[in-house]
Amino acid sequence: MELNQYISSGILELYVYGALPEEESIKVTQELKQHPEIVKEVEEIEGALTQLSTAAAPYNPEALLYTLQQKITEKQKSGVVEHPAKRKRTNLVLYIGWAASIALLIGLVSVISDRNELRDSLETAQAKNATLEQQITDARQSAEKNKQLLEVFRDKEIITVPLGGQDVAPEAYAEVHWDEKTNQVYVDAKDLPTPPEGKEYQVWSLTLDPLTPTSIGLLSNFSEDENKIFILENPNSSQGFGITLEPKGGSETPTMEQLYTLGTVQSS
Protein backbone atom coordinates (compact mmCIF):
# COMPACT_ATOMS: atom_id res chain seq x y z
CA MET A 1 0.00 0.00 0.00
CA GLU A 2 1.07 3.54 -0.73
CA LEU A 3 2.58 5.04 2.40
CA ASN A 4 0.68 8.32 2.27
CA GLN A 5 -2.55 6.53 1.66
CA TYR A 6 -1.87 4.31 4.66
CA ILE A 7 -1.13 7.28 6.87
CA SER A 8 -4.15 9.28 5.74
CA SER A 9 -6.51 6.32 6.12
CA GLY A 10 -6.89 7.10 9.82
CA ILE A 11 -5.71 3.69 10.98
CA LEU A 12 -2.82 5.17 12.97
CA GLU A 13 -5.11 7.30 15.12
CA LEU A 14 -7.15 4.21 15.96
CA TYR A 15 -3.91 2.38 16.70
CA VAL A 16 -2.86 4.99 19.23
CA TYR A 17 -6.33 4.94 20.82
CA GLY A 18 -6.13 1.19 21.20
CA ALA A 19 -9.37 0.93 19.19
CA LEU A 20 -8.14 -1.68 16.72
CA PRO A 21 -8.50 -5.43 17.14
CA GLU A 22 -5.26 -6.92 18.42
CA GLU A 23 -4.20 -8.59 15.18
CA GLU A 24 -4.56 -5.29 13.31
CA SER A 25 -2.52 -3.51 15.96
CA ILE A 26 0.24 -6.05 15.56
CA LYS A 27 0.23 -5.41 11.81
CA VAL A 28 0.49 -1.67 12.35
CA THR A 29 3.42 -2.21 14.72
CA GLN A 30 5.15 -4.17 11.97
CA GLU A 31 4.61 -1.30 9.53
CA LEU A 32 6.05 1.06 12.11
CA LYS A 33 9.23 -0.95 12.29
CA GLN A 34 9.73 -0.57 8.56
CA HIS A 35 8.76 3.04 8.00
CA PRO A 36 10.17 5.91 10.03
CA GLU A 37 7.54 8.17 8.40
CA ILE A 38 4.83 6.17 10.14
CA VAL A 39 6.67 6.34 13.45
CA LYS A 40 6.82 10.11 13.12
CA GLU A 41 3.11 10.28 12.37
CA VAL A 42 2.25 8.09 15.35
CA GLU A 43 4.43 10.19 17.62
CA GLU A 44 2.67 13.35 16.48
CA ILE A 45 -0.75 11.84 17.05
CA GLU A 46 0.33 10.68 20.47
CA GLY A 47 1.75 14.11 21.28
CA ALA A 48 -1.48 15.86 20.27
CA LEU A 49 -3.61 13.46 22.30
CA THR A 50 -1.31 13.88 25.29
CA GLN A 51 -1.85 17.63 25.11
CA LEU A 52 -5.58 17.19 24.84
CA SER A 53 -5.98 14.92 27.85
CA THR A 54 -3.41 16.86 29.85
CA ALA A 55 -5.66 19.86 29.34
CA ALA A 56 -8.51 17.82 30.83
CA ALA A 57 -6.56 17.06 34.02
CA PRO A 58 -7.77 19.16 36.95
CA TYR A 59 -4.13 19.81 37.96
CA ASN A 60 -0.73 18.22 37.69
CA PRO A 61 -0.86 15.22 40.04
CA GLU A 62 2.85 15.45 40.90
CA ALA A 63 2.11 15.45 44.63
CA LEU A 64 0.94 11.83 44.39
CA LEU A 65 4.32 10.63 43.25
CA TYR A 66 5.71 10.59 46.77
CA THR A 67 2.89 8.37 48.08
CA LEU A 68 3.32 6.05 45.14
CA GLN A 69 7.06 5.79 45.66
CA GLN A 70 6.49 4.81 49.27
CA LYS A 71 4.04 2.12 48.25
CA ILE A 72 6.49 0.79 45.73
CA THR A 73 9.32 0.71 48.23
CA GLU A 74 7.11 -1.27 50.58
CA LYS A 75 6.27 -3.68 47.82
CA GLN A 76 9.94 -4.17 47.03
CA LYS A 77 10.78 -4.80 50.66
CA SER A 78 8.05 -7.33 51.14
CA GLY A 79 9.31 -9.02 47.98
CA VAL A 80 12.08 -10.73 50.04
CA VAL A 81 15.42 -10.08 48.46
CA GLU A 82 16.90 -13.55 48.42
CA HIS A 83 13.94 -14.93 46.55
CA PRO A 84 12.67 -12.38 44.09
CA ALA A 85 10.08 -14.63 42.50
CA LYS A 86 8.00 -14.24 45.61
CA ARG A 87 7.41 -10.63 44.84
CA LYS A 88 5.40 -11.76 41.91
CA ARG A 89 3.33 -13.96 44.10
CA THR A 90 2.31 -11.12 46.36
CA ASN A 91 0.70 -9.49 43.38
CA LEU A 92 -1.51 -12.36 42.43
CA VAL A 93 -5.08 -11.34 42.39
CA LEU A 94 -6.66 -14.64 41.65
CA TYR A 95 -7.73 -16.30 44.80
CA ILE A 96 -7.63 -19.57 43.01
CA GLY A 97 -3.99 -19.11 42.29
CA TRP A 98 -3.34 -18.60 45.96
CA ALA A 99 -5.45 -21.49 47.00
CA ALA A 100 -3.71 -23.85 44.62
CA SER A 101 -0.31 -22.72 45.85
CA ILE A 102 -1.34 -23.20 49.42
CA ALA A 103 -2.61 -26.68 48.94
CA LEU A 104 0.61 -27.47 47.24
CA LEU A 105 2.29 -26.54 50.46
CA ILE A 106 0.15 -28.94 52.41
CA GLY A 107 1.24 -31.63 50.05
CA LEU A 108 4.87 -30.64 50.16
CA VAL A 109 4.96 -30.39 53.90
CA SER A 110 3.70 -33.90 54.14
CA VAL A 111 6.15 -35.04 51.50
CA ILE A 112 9.07 -33.41 53.24
CA SER A 113 8.07 -34.59 56.69
CA ASP A 114 8.07 -38.14 55.54
CA ARG A 115 11.31 -38.71 53.72
CA ASN A 116 10.69 -42.38 53.26
CA GLU A 117 7.80 -41.67 51.03
CA LEU A 118 10.14 -39.85 48.74
CA ARG A 119 12.01 -43.07 48.15
CA ASP A 120 8.88 -45.02 47.57
CA SER A 121 8.01 -46.71 44.38
CA LEU A 122 6.67 -44.86 41.40
CA GLU A 123 3.27 -46.24 42.18
CA THR A 124 3.24 -44.66 45.61
CA ALA A 125 4.50 -41.42 44.16
CA GLN A 126 1.69 -41.39 41.71
CA ALA A 127 -0.79 -42.02 44.44
CA LYS A 128 0.82 -39.23 46.39
CA ASN A 129 0.49 -36.92 43.45
CA ALA A 130 -3.12 -37.85 43.14
CA THR A 131 -3.62 -36.92 46.78
CA LEU A 132 -1.78 -33.70 46.26
CA GLU A 133 -3.90 -32.90 43.27
CA GLN A 134 -6.94 -33.60 45.36
CA GLN A 135 -5.66 -31.25 48.01
CA ILE A 136 -5.06 -28.53 45.53
CA THR A 137 -8.54 -28.97 44.20
CA ASP A 138 -9.96 -28.88 47.69
CA ALA A 139 -8.00 -25.79 48.54
CA ARG A 140 -9.40 -24.00 45.56
CA GLN A 141 -12.70 -24.27 47.32
CA SER A 142 -11.66 -23.30 50.81
CA ALA A 143 -10.95 -19.66 51.43
CA GLU A 144 -10.46 -19.38 55.17
CA LYS A 145 -7.02 -20.73 55.75
CA ASN A 146 -5.47 -18.96 52.85
CA LYS A 147 -3.75 -16.17 54.58
CA GLN A 148 -2.34 -18.15 57.42
CA LEU A 149 -1.08 -20.89 55.15
CA LEU A 150 0.35 -18.39 52.80
CA GLU A 151 2.79 -17.27 55.43
CA VAL A 152 4.09 -20.78 55.79
CA PHE A 153 4.24 -21.23 52.07
CA ARG A 154 6.41 -18.18 51.76
CA ASP A 155 9.16 -19.82 53.76
CA LYS A 156 9.39 -22.72 51.39
CA GLU A 157 11.69 -22.75 48.45
CA ILE A 158 8.99 -22.80 45.86
CA ILE A 159 9.06 -20.48 42.92
CA THR A 160 5.80 -19.48 41.39
CA VAL A 161 5.97 -18.29 37.84
CA PRO A 162 2.82 -16.81 36.30
CA LEU A 163 2.60 -17.54 32.59
CA GLY A 164 0.68 -14.86 30.72
CA GLY A 165 -1.32 -15.40 27.54
CA GLN A 166 0.45 -14.76 24.26
CA ASP A 167 -0.69 -13.67 20.80
CA VAL A 168 -2.58 -16.84 19.85
CA ALA A 169 -4.49 -16.90 23.12
CA PRO A 170 -4.35 -13.61 25.04
CA GLU A 171 -6.89 -14.91 27.55
CA ALA A 172 -4.89 -18.00 28.42
CA TYR A 173 -3.10 -18.21 31.74
CA ALA A 174 -1.16 -20.82 33.64
CA GLU A 175 1.04 -21.01 36.68
CA VAL A 176 4.14 -23.02 37.31
CA HIS A 177 5.03 -23.87 40.91
CA TRP A 178 8.57 -25.06 40.85
CA ASP A 179 10.24 -26.81 43.73
CA GLU A 180 13.91 -26.51 42.89
CA LYS A 181 14.95 -28.99 45.57
CA THR A 182 12.86 -31.85 44.32
CA ASN A 183 12.90 -30.81 40.66
CA GLN A 184 9.13 -31.05 40.60
CA VAL A 185 7.05 -28.66 38.60
CA TYR A 186 3.36 -28.31 39.24
CA VAL A 187 1.61 -26.76 36.28
CA ASP A 188 -1.76 -25.23 37.09
CA ALA A 189 -3.36 -25.14 33.65
CA LYS A 190 -6.95 -24.46 34.59
CA ASP A 191 -7.10 -21.34 32.44
CA LEU A 192 -5.78 -22.87 29.25
CA PRO A 193 -8.34 -23.60 26.54
CA THR A 194 -9.06 -27.27 25.81
CA PRO A 195 -6.70 -28.34 23.01
CA PRO A 196 -8.25 -29.38 19.69
CA GLU A 197 -8.36 -33.01 18.56
CA GLY A 198 -4.91 -34.44 17.85
CA LYS A 199 -3.08 -31.71 19.75
CA GLU A 200 -1.46 -31.53 23.15
CA TYR A 201 0.15 -28.85 25.26
CA GLN A 202 3.87 -29.17 25.76
CA VAL A 203 5.72 -27.43 28.58
CA TRP A 204 9.16 -25.96 27.99
CA SER A 205 11.81 -24.87 30.37
CA LEU A 206 13.61 -21.85 28.96
CA THR A 207 17.04 -20.45 29.45
CA LEU A 208 17.61 -16.98 28.08
CA ASP A 209 20.51 -15.49 26.19
CA PRO A 210 20.50 -17.41 23.95
CA LEU A 211 16.92 -18.55 24.22
CA THR A 212 17.02 -22.31 24.61
CA PRO A 213 13.86 -24.32 25.16
CA THR A 214 13.99 -27.76 26.76
CA SER A 215 10.89 -29.89 26.84
CA ILE A 216 9.84 -30.96 30.31
CA GLY A 217 6.74 -32.82 29.31
CA LEU A 218 3.23 -32.89 27.96
CA LEU A 219 -0.09 -32.00 29.52
CA SER A 220 -1.57 -35.28 28.36
CA ASN A 221 -5.26 -36.18 28.57
CA PHE A 222 -5.98 -32.53 29.16
CA SER A 223 -9.74 -32.63 28.75
CA GLU A 224 -10.11 -35.71 30.98
CA ASP A 225 -8.00 -34.21 33.73
CA GLU A 226 -10.42 -32.75 36.21
CA ASN A 227 -8.28 -30.37 38.19
CA LYS A 228 -5.89 -29.45 35.37
CA ILE A 229 -2.85 -29.65 37.60
CA PHE A 230 0.03 -31.52 36.01
CA ILE A 231 3.21 -32.66 37.67
CA LEU A 232 6.40 -32.74 35.65
CA GLU A 233 10.10 -33.23 36.30
CA ASN A 234 12.31 -30.21 35.78
CA PRO A 235 16.02 -30.75 36.45
CA ASN A 236 16.93 -27.61 34.45
CA SER A 237 18.13 -24.26 35.71
CA SER A 238 15.11 -22.60 34.18
CA GLN A 239 14.88 -18.88 33.63
CA GLY A 240 11.40 -19.10 32.25
CA PHE A 241 8.63 -21.43 31.20
CA GLY A 242 6.45 -21.58 28.13
CA ILE A 243 3.55 -23.70 26.97
CA THR A 244 2.95 -24.43 23.30
CA LEU A 245 0.31 -26.42 21.46
CA GLU A 246 1.89 -29.33 19.58
CA PRO A 247 0.77 -32.39 17.65
CA LYS A 248 -0.07 -35.30 19.96
CA GLY A 249 3.11 -36.80 21.39
CA GLY A 250 4.93 -33.49 21.42
CA SER A 251 7.65 -31.94 19.26
CA GLU A 252 11.43 -31.71 19.37
CA THR A 253 11.33 -27.94 19.34
CA PRO A 254 8.48 -25.60 20.26
CA THR A 255 6.15 -24.28 17.57
CA MET A 256 6.45 -20.59 18.36
CA GLU A 257 3.29 -19.64 16.43
CA GLN A 258 1.42 -21.81 18.89
CA LEU A 259 2.93 -20.32 22.02
CA TYR A 260 0.01 -20.06 24.43
CA THR A 261 1.59 -18.83 27.63
CA LEU A 262 4.96 -17.58 28.71
CA GLY A 263 6.57 -16.30 31.89
CA THR A 264 10.02 -15.68 33.27
CA VAL A 265 11.46 -16.49 36.65
CA GLN A 266 11.97 -13.14 38.34
CA SER A 267 15.52 -12.24 39.13
CA SER A 268 17.06 -9.01 40.19
Binding site: S8, S9, G10, I11, E13, L14, Y15, V16, Y17, G18, A19, L20, P21, E22, S25, I26, V28, T29, Q30, K40, V42, E43, E44, I45, E46, G47, A48, L49, T50, Q51, L52, S53, T54, A55, A56, A57, P58, Y59, N60, P61, E62, L64, L65, T67, L68, Q69, K71, I72, T73, K75, Q76, N91, G164, D167, T264, S268
Partner: protein, 178 residues
Protein backbone atom coordinates in the same frame (compact mmCIF):
# COMPACT_ATOMS: atom_id res chain seq x y z
CA UNK B 1 5.97 14.94 18.95
CA UNK B 2 6.37 12.29 21.55
CA UNK B 3 9.06 9.72 21.11
CA UNK B 4 8.53 6.51 22.99
CA UNK B 5 11.14 6.22 25.78
CA UNK B 6 12.04 2.60 25.13
CA UNK B 7 15.08 2.57 27.38
CA UNK B 8 13.08 3.97 30.22
CA UNK B 9 10.36 1.39 29.69
CA UNK B 10 12.95 -1.39 29.78
CA UNK B 11 14.27 0.01 33.05
CA UNK B 12 10.75 0.16 34.41
CA UNK B 13 10.28 -3.48 33.47
CA UNK B 14 13.47 -4.24 35.37
CA UNK B 15 11.80 -2.62 38.39
CA UNK B 16 13.98 0.43 38.62
CA UNK B 17 12.23 2.98 40.88
CA UNK B 18 13.99 5.89 39.14
CA UNK B 19 12.48 4.81 35.87
CA UNK B 20 9.10 4.71 37.53
CA UNK B 21 9.53 8.30 38.62
CA UNK B 22 10.34 9.43 35.10
CA UNK B 23 7.48 7.45 33.62
CA UNK B 24 5.16 9.01 36.16
CA UNK B 25 6.34 12.50 35.28
CA UNK B 26 5.84 11.81 31.65
CA UNK B 27 2.48 10.08 31.63
CA UNK B 28 0.67 10.98 34.84
CA UNK B 29 -0.94 14.27 33.94
CA UNK B 30 -2.44 13.17 30.64
CA UNK B 31 -3.55 9.92 32.28
CA UNK B 32 -5.13 11.91 35.07
CA UNK B 33 -7.02 13.88 32.42
CA UNK B 34 -8.41 10.72 30.89
CA UNK B 35 -9.45 9.31 34.27
CA UNK B 36 -11.01 12.58 35.37
CA UNK B 37 -12.99 12.83 32.14
CA UNK B 38 -14.54 9.46 32.89
CA UNK B 39 -14.98 9.90 36.65
CA UNK B 40 -15.67 13.61 37.11
CA UNK B 41 -14.54 13.68 40.74
CA UNK B 42 -11.05 14.85 41.63
CA UNK B 43 -10.55 12.72 44.72
CA UNK B 44 -11.85 9.55 43.17
CA UNK B 45 -9.79 10.28 40.07
CA UNK B 46 -6.69 10.60 42.26
CA UNK B 47 -7.39 7.23 43.85
CA UNK B 48 -7.79 5.64 40.44
CA UNK B 49 -4.63 7.32 39.18
CA UNK B 50 -2.69 5.79 42.04
CA UNK B 51 -4.12 2.36 41.35
CA UNK B 52 -3.25 2.75 37.70
CA UNK B 53 0.38 3.60 38.38
CA UNK B 54 0.74 0.77 40.86
CA UNK B 55 -0.57 -1.52 38.14
CA UNK B 56 1.92 -0.05 35.71
CA UNK B 57 4.66 -0.84 38.19
CA UNK B 58 3.45 -4.33 38.99
CA UNK B 59 2.66 -5.37 35.45
CA UNK B 60 5.25 -3.46 33.45
CA UNK B 61 6.74 -6.67 32.14
CA UNK B 62 3.46 -7.56 30.49
CA UNK B 63 3.76 -4.57 28.17
CA UNK B 64 4.65 -5.97 24.78
CA UNK B 65 5.84 -3.43 22.24
CA UNK B 66 4.76 -5.58 19.31
CA UNK B 67 1.14 -5.10 20.30
CA UNK B 68 1.21 -1.33 20.48
CA UNK B 69 2.51 1.85 22.00
CA UNK B 70 3.34 2.18 25.67
CA UNK B 71 1.10 5.24 25.64
CA UNK B 72 -1.78 3.00 24.51
CA UNK B 73 -0.98 0.35 27.09
CA UNK B 74 -1.12 2.95 29.86
CA UNK B 75 -4.27 4.44 28.36
CA UNK B 76 -5.99 1.06 28.39
CA UNK B 77 -5.15 0.43 32.03
CA UNK B 78 -6.38 3.90 32.94
CA UNK B 79 -9.65 3.71 31.03
CA UNK B 80 -10.43 0.24 32.34
CA UNK B 81 -9.71 1.28 35.92
CA UNK B 82 -11.79 4.44 35.56
CA UNK B 83 -14.72 2.64 33.99
CA UNK B 84 -14.57 -0.10 36.64
CA UNK B 85 -14.71 2.61 39.26
CA UNK B 86 -17.83 4.18 37.76
CA UNK B 87 -19.52 0.80 38.14
CA UNK B 88 -18.71 0.55 41.83
CA UNK B 89 -21.34 1.18 44.45
CA UNK B 90 -19.38 3.84 46.29
CA UNK B 91 -19.05 5.81 43.11
CA UNK B 92 -22.71 5.54 42.21
CA UNK B 93 -23.67 6.97 45.58
CA UNK B 94 -21.32 9.85 45.08
CA UNK B 95 -22.37 10.58 41.57
CA UNK B 96 -25.04 13.13 42.50
CA UNK B 97 -22.35 15.65 43.40
CA UNK B 98 -20.41 15.38 40.21
CA UNK B 99 -19.79 18.47 38.18
CA UNK B 100 -18.10 17.53 34.93
CA UNK B 101 -17.65 14.27 33.07
CA UNK B 102 -16.74 15.21 29.56
CA UNK B 103 -13.44 16.45 28.24
CA UNK B 104 -14.96 19.36 26.32
CA UNK B 105 -16.77 20.72 29.39
CA UNK B 106 -13.74 20.19 31.57
CA UNK B 107 -11.42 22.08 29.26
CA UNK B 108 -13.94 24.84 28.64
CA UNK B 109 -14.43 25.38 32.36
CA UNK B 110 -10.77 25.34 33.22
CA UNK B 111 -9.16 28.72 33.70
CA UNK B 112 -5.51 27.86 34.07
CA UNK B 113 -4.20 25.05 31.97
CA UNK B 114 -1.07 23.12 32.85
CA UNK B 115 2.26 24.55 31.80
CA UNK B 116 2.77 21.38 29.79
CA UNK B 117 -0.04 22.36 27.49
CA UNK B 118 -0.34 24.88 24.69
CA UNK B 119 -3.22 26.53 26.52
CA UNK B 120 -4.22 28.95 23.78
CA UNK B 121 -4.08 26.22 21.15
CA UNK B 122 -6.20 23.79 23.12
CA UNK B 123 -8.83 26.40 24.00
CA UNK B 124 -9.02 27.45 20.40
CA UNK B 125 -9.33 23.86 19.31
CA UNK B 126 -12.23 23.21 21.65
CA UNK B 127 -13.99 26.29 20.27
CA UNK B 128 -13.78 25.19 16.66
CA UNK B 129 -14.32 21.49 17.30
CA UNK B 130 -17.23 20.06 15.33
CA UNK B 131 -19.91 18.33 17.40
CA UNK B 132 -19.24 14.98 15.77
CA UNK B 133 -15.55 15.37 16.56
CA UNK B 134 -16.39 15.89 20.20
CA UNK B 135 -18.37 12.66 20.25
CA UNK B 136 -15.88 10.61 18.29
CA UNK B 137 -12.90 11.72 20.35
CA UNK B 138 -14.79 11.26 23.58
CA UNK B 139 -15.77 7.69 22.73
CA UNK B 140 -12.59 6.51 21.08
CA UNK B 141 -9.97 8.25 23.17
CA UNK B 142 -11.48 8.99 26.55
CA UNK B 143 -13.95 6.14 26.84
CA UNK B 144 -11.97 3.47 25.05
CA UNK B 145 -14.63 2.35 22.58
CA UNK B 146 -13.42 0.14 19.76
CA UNK B 147 -13.96 1.32 16.23
CA UNK B 148 -16.95 -0.96 15.79
CA UNK B 149 -18.50 -0.02 19.14
CA UNK B 150 -18.20 3.66 18.23
CA UNK B 151 -19.68 2.93 14.82
CA UNK B 152 -22.70 1.38 16.48
CA UNK B 153 -23.05 4.06 19.14
CA UNK B 154 -22.87 6.94 16.65
CA UNK B 155 -24.63 5.08 13.88
CA UNK B 156 -21.80 5.79 11.43
CA UNK B 157 -20.12 3.30 9.11
CA UNK B 158 -16.73 2.01 10.27
CA UNK B 159 -14.85 3.75 7.47
CA UNK B 160 -16.55 7.06 8.23
CA UNK B 161 -15.48 6.86 11.87
CA UNK B 162 -11.93 6.26 10.77
CA UNK B 163 -11.68 9.15 8.29
CA UNK B 164 -13.69 11.63 10.35
CA UNK B 165 -11.64 10.91 13.41
CA UNK B 166 -8.50 11.49 11.38
CA UNK B 167 -9.85 14.90 10.34
CA UNK B 168 -10.75 15.76 13.93
CA UNK B 169 -7.26 14.94 15.17
CA UNK B 170 -5.61 16.68 12.23
CA UNK B 171 -7.33 19.88 13.21
CA UNK B 172 -5.92 19.53 16.70
CA UNK B 173 -2.44 18.97 15.33
CA UNK B 174 -2.72 21.95 12.99
CA UNK B 175 -3.69 24.27 15.78
CA UNK B 176 -1.03 22.98 18.14
CA UNK B 177 1.76 23.35 15.62
CA UNK B 178 0.56 26.70 14.27
Amino acid sequence: MQEQPDGLIAELQAKNPKAFERIYERYSESTFGVIYSVIGDKHVAEEVLQDVFLKIWDNAESYNSSKGRFFTWVLNIARNAAIDKTRSKAYKNKKKNLTAEYFVDIIEEKTNLSSKVDAIGIKKYIEVLKPYCKKIIDLLYFKGFTQSEASEELDMPLGTIKTRNRNCINKLREILTA
